[in-house]
């Protein structure tokens, strides 16, 4: 038997199965089959292809993003100046969901400004690291450290005490970052904004800010079991400001799973298959 020394990656991801070359000829198996079939070869002599190009890895993860199947036209889901809301009861996974959206943008080298009104920087940071590690494990990425180093510069965390937060302060901070060329966000995530009576003006100001700065904004909205939604299913907190939101997604526990339900925007007419979140990993399930 010929001694297998190395396989060369041919940079093709068609049909989600990678193709390889072996001694100059195409090696036809997809990776899982390939691993099954060559069990009789002494593994000492095989060099597995672990050192994939970081750019390729990023592309692969972007393509595997399960949200692509929800019927949104752009990878960002939202366009410039648009608002999106992720709604759920406490502890269902709003932050984890938004962190996955953020990581997807960061993989595409789009900058994400994450504003938290509830958690300190360290905790938000940990969310990202944890979700990233889970994605890396799910897709068996061996170069996770290098990949993490390349996506990290695309994120900036700002935390405020909920009572100390105002759009004016945020605007000041944002101008500091943009004018000094430190960070220009493409996506903004606001986690923990209380959707109470006083939120209307804040949201209107934020909409203007988003338009001026050419970014879109995602919010987490905490819903409550005892509050009745409107006939279209929009939770009570969002009814008064629903006009400002182009997309609304609700996370609903269904049995032991969590369903991602589009309430507003593409997919809300029941024209797309519902996606699920795996409660064990809090990751959106890849149902391909």
């Amino acid at each position: 038997m010929a001694e297998i020394k190395s396989f060369k990656n041919t940079n093709s991801f068609a049909n989600s199965g990678r193709r390889f070359e072996f001694e100059g000829k195409p090696f036809p198996f997809k990776e899982p089959e390939f691993q099954k079939k060559i069990t009789n070869i002494p593994t000492d002599n095989i060099c597995y292809i672990r050192e994939r190009n970081i750019g390729m890895l990023k592309n692969e993860l972007i393509l595997k993003n399960p949200l692509r199947r929800m019927g949104y036209e752009s990878d960002d889901i939202l366009n410039t100046g648009e608002f999106g809301a992720v709604m759920a009861r406490a502890g269902v996974g709003k932050t984890a969901f938004l962190v996955q959206l953020a990581l997807n943008s960061m993989l595409r080298e789009k900058k994400v400004l994450h504003i938290s009104l509830a958690d300190p920087v360290k905790k938000v940071s940990l969310w990202y690291k944890e979700v990233f590690n889970r994605i890396a494990t799910q897709y068996a990425i061996h170069q996770s450290v290098q990949l993490w180093d390349t996506v990290l510069p695309h994120r900036f965390i700002m935390t405020f005490r909920a009572e100390g937060f105002s759009v004016l302060t945020l605007e000041e901070r944002l101008s500091d970052l943009i004018e000094q060329n430190i960070f220009k966000p493409h996506t903004m995530i606001i986690d923990g904004l209380p959707f109470d009576d006083a939120v209307n003006q804040d949201l209107a100001d934020l909409k203007n800010l988003a338009r001026r700065q050419g970014m879109h904004v995602w919010f987490t909205v905490r819903t409550h079991r005892h509050e009745e939604p409107d006939p279209s299913g929009i939770p009570a907190q969002l009814i008064a400001v629903a006009d400002l939101f182009e997309v609304a997604i609700q996370l609903v526990p269904v049995g032991k799973q969590i369903q991602i339900k589009a309430l507003k925007g593409p997919g809300s007419q029941g024209d797309q298959a519902a996606l699920m979140i795996d409660p064990a990993t809090m990751l959106i399930k890849d149902q391909a």
Partner: protein, 695 residues
């Protein structure tokens, strides 16, 4: 020394820089009547705090070396170690926590849980040290002890338990409400020495009752007796509550929070009461040692005096009477005239003078029983050595010693200085495992390395003051490293068979990057392609190659070497031949494995008034910082960043000038990361220029 070990507390005081650790210690010593006048850190009288005994400490107003002292309170003996707050002197904190049974975590009432509090908390976790928290500076504007207790929960994950409520805050801070005795305590007299206990002010009564309920509820989680009393609606005595909380503290499940203002002499006596009531005595803590004669089997130590001695030397100091070795006895007793054995060197030592330390003063004693801390003279050892009674071979697990990250070359100005520098370096390197000195073989320069600019600065200053050694220094150098980024194969033959004794060895296999390890060697040779007796030589050859990377001559780390084939010659193969072959193989594989240079990245946390946030971020951005995030805490903002160490020189001055001296920062080693290509090119250029100069 008194002998009732249940009335003994070995405690440390740890916190972020300028939280008031030394001021608190000064108050404790005063109230315990150990000192008769109080002096302040950098006080107007110019005397300086008692625990800052080093001249340099008094001048700079910082603690550099941890100092040990003891005092008595409520018939209890308390050994106290005051530790530095600056992360550059982190080893002092590590070695103190290693030998302590409990700690007071001091937090600033205004700034709350700061970056160094987080580091200290991690260190306490490492050595499983139970603690109580003291929220200091409640008299300052912006102080809010309840917010700090909340931060203790959120940021450090402690189960913080409010033990006291403030009576007034900021400038109106008058005293505290004790939620166990349900009394208000005020601190009268010039120096707060008289504690006046009164009824709780009516307007605070309801809040106090609510908080007491929470306190009892929490305490009942750790005491069946208390739970029973609550369920059966019996009277709940103060002792029952204290016992419940004490169990929670010892199990590291509860962190009682006390409040006060050390500078304004408020709240110290109740804190001392709590130290005696809530923190563990040596009997409550299980200490373990490893039996070196029995495959490092872990053995629990007993505090019984009759057992053979086991003691740990945790700190060395060179004093006027020779080397002073601080020691904690874990088992048996250390008595004057005993013969003891240093487990590391196996040398027998006779115990001469034994003393108890009080900052720079000492008191002669005859014996140090188990559980106690003392010091002995005239013993030659390194810090971290274990001493035992002859006949046993137990060793305490060692302390965590971080690697130095910064170095600079020093040049003695004259001959006299040259002699003194070597004396000073000999002493400092022995005292402080994070401070290293060596001679660069190529340039002949003496290089010193340590944990930060301040760390090295302090040692250079101490050389000048204590050894009259004047030195000039080169700009600081960063400890770069090399590593590989991909797997690469090697197949190298070393062959020299022309005349004389021949040399032959072939080594084949591959190198690959490995995380979290410096060097891993794996032998996968089957069928004796390389005879077993040469495998060790191969490993040595590879390991030696790691000391100086082929790319830039920086140390190489993070490599797994696997050898899976080779060849030998019955006559010409030797250890030396295989070592040379391994070095050749390493060079061959390394060149193909995409080597890169890595630099130390520091976690830098800047605390600044919010108005300067933008400017501070700009200064950081100029220094290649990756800004992780900003946190607004009222009037203050905290900026968390990751910055290459090479960019941080002189940052203290820059920060001072852009914030009018109102911001401060802490810096600690985070990780090694790849140097950007442009910087790597500069380094290559610089190195080749230096090589030319040497030539």
């Amino acid at each position: 020394m008194k002998k009732d070990i249940r009335n003994l507390r070995n405690i440390g005081i740890s916190a972020h820089i300028d939280s008031g650790k030394t001021t608190l210690t000064e108050r404790i010593l005063y109230y315990a009547k150990r000192i008769h006048t109080m002096h302040d850190v950098k006080g107007k009288d110019g005397v300086g705090a008692t625990m800052d005994s080093m001249e340099l400490e008094k001048e700079r107003g910082i603690t550099i070396a941890s100092a040990a002292t003891y005092c008595e309170w409520l018939n209890h003996e308390i050994n106290i170690i005051d530790t530095p707050g600056h992360v550059d002197f982190t080893i002092e904190v590590e070695r103190s926590l290693r030998v302590l049974d409990g700690a007071i975590l001091v937090l600033c009432g205004v700034a709350g849980v700061q970056s160094q509090s987080i580091t200290v908390d991690q260190q306490m976790n490492r050595y499983q040290v139970p603690c109580i928290a003291f929220v200091n500076k409640c008299d300052r504007s912006g102080a809010n002890p309840l917010r700090v207790a909340k931060q203790l929960k959120e940021k450090l994950g402690h189960n913080a338990l409010t033990m006291q409520l403030p009576i007034g805050l900021e400038a109106d801070f008058e005293g505290v409400i004790d939620l166990i005795t349900m009394q208000a305590a005020y601190f009268d007299g010039d120096k707060g020495e008289q504690v006046r206990r009164e009824e709780i002010p009516a307007d605070l009564m309801q809040t106090a009752l609510d908080n007491r309920e929470i306190l009892i509820d929490q305490a009942s989680m750790f005491s069946d007796g208390l739970t029973e009393a609550i369920l059966e609606e019996k009277d709940v005595s103060d002792e029952m509550i204290i016992e419940g909380i004490r169990q929670g503290v010892i199990a590291r499940q509860l962190t009682p929070v006390f409040i006060g203002s050390a500078y304004k002499n408020k709240g110290i006596q109740p804190l001392l009461d709590a130290v005696t009531r809530l923190l563990p005595c040596p009997l409550d803590v299980e200490n373990q040692a490893m039996d070196m004669d029995n495959d490092e089997q872990v053995i629990a130590l007993s505090n019984a005096v009759g057992k053979p001695l086991v003691a740990l030397a945790f700190k060395l100091e060179d004093g006027p009477y020779g080397q002073l070795t601080y020691i904690r006895v874990y088992q048996g007793a250390l008595t004057k005239g005993d013969t003891i054995v240093n487990v590391r060197t196996r040398k027998k030592v006779k115990v001469g003078r034994l003393i108890r330390m009080h900052a720079d003063q000492m008191e002669d004693i005859n014996t140090i029983p188990a559980g106690y801390i003392g010091a002995l003279f005239g013993v030659d050892c390194s810090s971290g050595d274990t001493f035992v009674a002859p006949g046993i071979s137990l060793t305490m697990t060692s302390m965590y010693v971080p690697e130095p990250v910064i170095s600079l070359a020093i040049f003695p100005k004259d001959n006299k200085s040259e002699v003194n520098v070597s004396k000073a370096l000999g002493r400092f390197t022995k005292e402080d495992p994070t401070f290293k000195a060596y001679v660069n073989e190529e340039t002949g320069d003496t290089i010193i390395s340590g944990m930060g600019e301040l760390h090295l600065e302090v040692y250079i200053e101490r050389m000048r003051r204590e050894y009259q050694a004047e030195v000039e220094t080169s700009p600081p150098r960063v400890a770069y490293r090399e590593t590989i980024t991909r797997k690469a194969e090697f197949d190298y033959i070393h062959k020299k068979q022309t005349g004389g004794a021949g040399q032959f060895g072939r080594v084949a296999g591959y190198l690959e990057p490995v995380q979290d390890e410096d060097f891993v060697f794996e032998n996968k040779i089957r069928g004796g392609a390389i005879p077993t007796q040469f495998i060790a030589a191969c490993e040595k050859g590879f390991k030696n190659s790691m000391q100086k990377g082929p790319k830039m001559e920086f140390p190489v780390t993070g490599i797994r070497v696997v050898i899976n084939d080779g060849a030998s010659h019955s006559v010409d193969s030797s250890d030396m031949a295989f070592q040379v072959a391994a070095r050749g193989a390493f060079r061959q594989g390394y060149a193909k494995a995409k080597p890169v240079i890595q630099e130390p990245i520091m976690k830098v946390v800047v605390e600044t008034p919010t108005e300067f946030q933008g400017t501070v971020m700009a200064t950081l951005n100029q220094r290649r910082a990756l800004i992780v995030g900003t946190q607004e805490e009222g009037l203050f903002s905290v900026i968390e960043t990751q910055v290459p160490l090479s960019e941080m020189f002189g940052y203290a001055t820059d920060l001072r000038s852009v914030t009018k001296g109102r911001a401060q920062f802490t810096m600690e080693f985070l990780t090694y990361k790849q140097v950007p290509q442009t910087i790597a090119d500069e380094l290559v250029k610089k190195a080749s220029a230096e090589k030319k100069n040497v030539a």
